[in-house]
Symmetry: C2
Subunit: 197 residues, 2 copies
DNA sequence: TATTGTTATACTCTATAACTATA
DNA sequence: TATAGTTATAGAGTATAACAATA
């Protein structure tokens, strides 16, 4: 239960407010042969993450992992993972929609959504209902148990949101969400040619 | 080249500024038997993600995926993935440090770091140097090629950072990094008992 | 011919146990 | 006994191709 991705820092004190000391950079590398690290050159104290702590992508990834870790811990009692929660929520808000629509709205590949739904169905939280008008498709709905669990989950989720809001200060949470949305829409890559060509 | 995780929205217009209409919620679910979605009840237009678009964890995950996607595209020419870039950067800033120290600082498991280093070494970007003082350990250094590639990579990375800064407005990028740091340190889970527990 | 759900499959990332060689 | 690097392996998460049933 611990996802990484870019690079994770678990134990390091993380010099967030410490001035990044970029002083001692060895313009030339030590001889790639053998090194006596007993001296003083490199074997000293903490590893310096330097610029990394100011890189949006890096900090973003770390924050996402931290939030998910907390989420998973909070939802352990409900036996729900983040993706499962999002699926329950979307089904709950859009009952009767096609299996493929639910999957697509969450960016889940259709093949991968099959096992997810199987699991939710096995636990009696959701159901596939064969459509009358198009017998290829499945209309997805929550069961009563599914709605009940979703309600409990939403309450737990609200707790996390409250903790986050507290951590970020007045208006901080909303501002963060807004800024993050700006990074998502419109896509960064498209229609954003680099400054000089 | 496309990572997901929670749930991803690729095509949906994403009602970021649209008021989440939470009106028509069917307190009771449709009969779990068969559904005629041809009527009007559920088979209508776009899927409603509703609360999800305001959940920090969800938006955070989506933003992280968006940034990484952009990163990977930008770094395609250099054949560097985010994790590889972070490793090169940390080695560059901390030449001669032990393999396990580099890995730990980035939260990479020691066993998983072996293959990463193998690859960087195979490409002539980094080298393992057997330490004289402790013949168990490897001191990791960048090669000249490694330093050269890192320099190019840092320039590319700076471009992404500039694009992000532009997207987020004056001071927005720095504020975002600061807020994200607050979510990471101290850990959300520890020492944060729920409001009423 | 196109779409829906499905199966099979593969690749990446992450995690743990256990080995080896040193200390 | 403990540590550094390694091997092997297992589990998620995600991606694509192809099939059967239906449109």
């Amino acid at each position: 239960m611990d996802e990484r991705g870019v690079a994770e820092d678990r134990s390091a004190p993380s010099p967030a407010n410490a001035t990044p000391r970029r002083g001692r950079r060895p313009a030339r590398a030590p001889q790639p042969d053998e090194i006596d690290e007993g001296g003083e050159g490199a074997g000293a104290g903490e590893i310096d993450l330097a610029e990394l702590t100011g890189v949006v992508g890096y900090v973003l990834r770390r924050a996402q992992l931290a939030i998910f870790e907390d989420f998973i811990a909070r939802f352990a009692a409900l036996d729900l993972k983040p993706a499962q929660y999002s699926v329950l929520l979307v089904i709950g808000r859009n009952p009767g929609r096609k299996q493929s629509e639910i999957a697509a709205s969450l960016g889940i590949q259709r093949p991968n959504f099959v096992a997810m739904l199987d699991e939710l169905e096995r636990r009696g939280l959701a159901e596939r209902v064969r459509s009358v008008t198009d017998r290829r498709s499945h209309a997805i709905v929550l069961t009563d148990d599914g709605r009940a669990l979703l309600a409990r989950a939403a309450a737990v989720q609200a707790e996390q949101e409250a903790i986050i809001a507290e951590r970020l200060g007045p208006g901080g949470r909303e501002a963060l969400v807004e800024q993050l949305r700006r990074l998502v829409t419109p896509p960064l890559s498209a229609g954003n040619p680099p400054p000089e060509g």
